[in-house]
Symmetry: C2
C-alpha cells in the first residue's frame, strides 16, 4: 500500500512538474457541461412512429430551447451534443458526410446556427474506423475532409468513437490524425476521444499521448441507466486512479461518460451520488435525459450551484478515492484557495442511514488541519459548521447509496503551523490505518 | 423448451389433482401482508445512541400505531413482525427464551397485547439451530418449550431461520419438529420457514415435505435495498418456477423475502416492479421500511388496492414468467373468475420508455381469447380498454426497469367458443415462438 501511495505521489508530482503536452486549442479549461443524446435516446431513428423521441434536428432544437428557458444554460450547461445515428447512410458525391435528410432536413450547419443563436455550442459524433458503432459511414480515410466539414458547419465539439477500427496502430494514428486535422481547420473544436477505452482490452494506453491530442477521453464502458453501471464506472476509475488522475487538468479530462440523472434507473440518493462523484472526478458533466419532462428534484440536483462549483473549480485537479472503510467510500479533491472537497458515499445496501464520523486527523488531506480547519457541508445543504479540530465528534448521516459532500478550508493560523511543522520535520502519523481497524460492528454506528 | 413446458404442465396438474398435504393451521389462506424489521433496521441494538431506530418494543409499537392511523391496516397489512436481535443473550432459569430486558422492558406478551388491541398480529423470530444468525440463543433442543412460550405470549407468526444448524438431517427434522410443536400448542401460529434456502446449496429441497410443515418458505437469499438484489430474486424464482409454482396455494406460499419499497436503493419505477412482481408471484407482502417517514408515492404504491387485489386473489395460484423477449419479461397469473393478470417489465436499462405490443394470440393464457377478451390496465392506472381481438394493435409504454400490470377476462361468448374448439379438437398454433422471432431492431418500436 505504501509503495502504491508513493507511486501515486510521484505521478501527481510529475504531472505538475514534468512537461506534459496538451492539446493546444484552448477548449475545456474546466470540464465541459452540456447534454448528449445517447443514453436516453440511443439510435432511435423511427421518426414516423416516434416523432418526439427520434434522433432528429427537432429534438436538438427543443433541447437547446429548454437549456435556455429552464435555467440549464445559466447553470453552466453549454454543449448540445449529437451522438451516433445522425448520418445519412452514404457520403455525398464529393465524399463529404451528410446528415440524414429526413431527420435533419436543415442540415447540421443550420442546426449549429440555431444552437449558437441561443448562446450554446453544438457537438457532433464520428468514428475513427470504417463505420460508426451503429453502422453509419466512419471517418477512416477521411479525417481531413471530415474535420473540414465539421469546421465549415461551425461545430464546437467532436465525440470521436472507436468502433470498427482496423488495427491498434490505425486506431491510435486515427485519433492523432483527427486531432491534427481539427487543429488545422483553425476552428477551436473540443475533441472528445474514446481512444483509451478501445485500447484497454489490449494494452495500457499511453496517456501522455492521449492528453496531447484530446480534451477528454473515455476510459471505461458506456454508462447505462442503473446503479450497477454507475458504481461500476466509479469503482473502475478508483481502481485506476493512480494512472488516470495525474493526466487530468485544464484542457484534458478523464471522461466517465454521461450523467443519467433524471431517468428511470437511479433512486434519488443514487442520482445524488452520481452528481457528486462526477464533480469530484472532474468529469465532463454531459447529461443524457429528457429535459422536456424532467423531475423537479433531478433538475434541482443537476443545477445545484455548489456541486457545479466543485466540478468547475479552476485549480482543475481530479479527485481520487482515499478510503473504503466500513462500506463508506471517501473521495478527496484538492480545490483552489487551499480547500479540499470531500465526498462520502454509503455503499452498504442494507439498513437505514448510517453515521460517518469525521476523524479529521485520519484523512490524508486533513493532516494539514492541525490545529483546526473550517468545515462546510455542500450537500444536502450548504451549512458552515465552523472550526473543527482533530477531536471533532461531528458525524454525517448518509442514506444507503447516497453521498454527502463537504469542503475543508485551511485557515491562516493552521497554514502557519503547517509551515512550521514542515521546517521542524514533524510528521503527523495518524493514517487511514486507524480508520481501517474499526470493527465490522460499527456498521451500526 | 417444449419438454420443459410439458413437465411444468404436469407439475401444475399434479399440484391441483394429486394429494399434496398442507400445514393444517388455517393460516395464510392468502399471502400474508405486514411489516418485518430486518432489511431496514437490521441488528441495530444500540438504543443509547440510536433510540429511534434500534430493535426495541418502542419501534414495534410505533409501527403498529402507524399501521392503524396511516391506512396500512385498512389496505390489508396485518402482521407486525420482529426479526433477529430481539432476544436476551441467555435463556431464563427455566430454560425459556426471554426478550432483551433493556430493549423490550415490557416483554413480548405485553407487546403482543398492544398489537392485538390495534387489531393487528405479532410475528416473532427464532432459529432452528444452536444460535440465531446474529448469535442469540437458538431453538435447537428447545422446540417444544419455545413453541409453548410463543403461544403463551400469544404470538401469531414465527419466522424460523436456519443459521447454525448442525447437519442437514437436524435442519430438516428441526423444521418438522417446530411445526408440530406449534400445532401442539393449540394456537394458530403462521409458520414462516427458511428450510429450502438452507438446503439449496446441498440438495434440491423436498417441497412436498416443506408445504406440509410451513405456511411460507424462503427459497433464495436475503433481499437487499437494490435493484440488483430484487432482480436477482425475481430471476432466481423464474428460473426455478417449474419446481416452485405448483406447491403454492392457500396456506402455503413461496417467499421471495421483504418488500424494500420506501427505502433508498430502488428508483420509483423499480419500486413499482417489485410491488407488481411480488403480487404476481403470490408472495407474502412484508414491507421492511420506515413507515414513520415514508415517501407518499411509495405509500400509495404499497397501498394500491388493485395490485393488492391480485396479490390476495382467492384462487391462490402463483404466477410465473411466460416469456423474456426483447428485454421484456412477461408474467402471467391465473385469477379467480376466469381472469388472468399479466405483468410486463422493461428490463432494458438503456434509452427511454419502450412500447410493448399485445399480440394477444401469442400469450399462452390468451389462447383462450378467441375471438376476443376484455382488457383492463391495473397499473399505472385502472383503465378498462374494452374487448381486444388477436389483431389488437394496443401497445403499453413501459419505462426502463418499470412494469405495467393488466387483467384479461374471458367473456361468455369466448368461453363458449373455447368449449366448441376443445370438442372439435382445434388448436390455436400461435405460440411464443412468433414473438421470439422479433428482431433486435424492435427495441426501438
Amino acid at each position: 500500500m505504501a509503495r502504491r501511495a508513493f507511486t501515486f505521489l510521484i505521478l501527481i508530482c510529475c504531472a505538475t512538474i514534468c512537461p506534459v503536452f496538451l492539446l493546444e486549442n484552448g477548449m475545456a479549461l474546466t470540464p465541459i457541461m452540456g447534454w448528449l443524446h445517447w443514453e436516453r435516446f440511443t439510435c432511435n431513428t423511427d421518426c414516423y412512429n416516434d416523432p418526439d423521441n427520434c434522433v432528429s434536428e427537432k429534438l436538438f432544437m427543443q433541447i437547446a430551447d429548454i437549456m435556455v428557458t429552464d435555467g440549464w444554460k445559466d447553470a453552466g450547461y453549454e454543449y448540445v451534443c449529437i451522438d451516433d445515428c445522425w448520418l445519412a447512410l452514404t457520403r455525398d458525391k464529393e465524399g463529404r458526410l451528410q446528415a440524414d435528410p429526413d431527420r435533419f432536413p436543415g442540415g447540421i450547419k443550420k442546426l449549429a446556427d440555431y444552437v449558437h443563436a441561443k448562446g450554446l455550442k453544438l457537438g457532433i459524433y464520428q468514428d475513427v474506423g470504417n463505420r460508426t458503432c451503429a453502422g453509419y459511414p466512419g471517418s477512416y480515410g477521411h479525417y481531413d475532409i471530415d474535420a473540414q466539414t465539421f469546421a465549415e458547419w461551425e461545430v464546437d465539439l467532436l465525440k470521436f468513437d472507436g468502433c470498427n477500427f482496423i488495427n491498434l496502430d490505425i486506431l491510435v494514428e486515427g485519433y492523432k490524425n483527427m486531432s491534427r486535422a481539427l487543429i488545422n481547420t483553425g476552428r477551436n473544436i473540443t475533441f472528445s476521444c474514446e481512444w483509451p477505452l478501445y485500447l484497454w482490452p489490449f494494452q495500457t494506453p499511453n496517456y501522455t499521448d492521449i492528453r496531447e491530442h484530446c480534451n477528454q477521453w473515455r476510459n471505461s464502458g458506456d454508462v447505462f441507466d442503473s446503479w450497477k453501471s454507475v458504481t461500476g464506472i466509479i469503482d473502475w476509475t478508483a481502481n485506476h486512479q493512480q494512472l488516470l488522475v495525474p493526466f487530468a487538468g485544464p484542457g484534458a479530462w478523464n471522461d466517465p461518460d454521461m450523467l443519467v440523472i433524471g431517468n428511470f434507473g437511479l433512486s434519488p440518493d443514487q442520482q445524488v451520488s452520481q452528481m457528486i462523484i462526477w464533480a469530484m472526478m472532474a468529469a465532463p458533466l454531459l447529461m443524457s435525459n429528457d429535459l422536456r419532462y424532467i423531475d423537479p428534484k433531478a433538475k434541482a440536483l443537476l443545477q445545484n450551484k455548489n456541486i457545479i462549483a466543485i466540478s468547475q473549480d479552476p485549480l482543475g485537479k481530479q479527485g481520487y478515492k482515499i478510503a473504503s472503510v466500513n462500506n463508506f467510500d471517501v473521495w478527496e479533491r484538492p480545490l483552489s484557495g487551499d480547500r479540499y472537497a470531500f465526498a462520502v458515499t454509503n455503499r452498504y445496501e442494507l439498513g437505514g442511514p448510517r453515521h460517518f464520523p469525521i476523524f479529521m486527523a485520519t484523512v490524508p488531506g486533513w493532516r494539514r488541519c492541525f490545529p483546526t480547519c473550517l468545515i462546510a457541508t455542500v450537500f444536502p445543504n450548504y451549512v458552515e459548521l465552523g472550526e473543527h479540530s482533530f477531536l471533532s465528534q461531528y458525524k454525517f448521516t448518509i442514506n444507503p447509496t447516497g453521498t454527502v459532500l463537504f469542503i475543508v478550508s485551511i485557515p491562516p493560523k493552521t497554514k502557519l503551523l503547517n509551515n512550521l511543522n514542515k521546517r521542524a520535520g514533524l510528521k503527523l502519523n495518524r493514517t487511514w490505518k486507524n480508520l481501517n481497524t474499526i470493527q465490522r460492528k460499527d456498521d451500526y454506528f
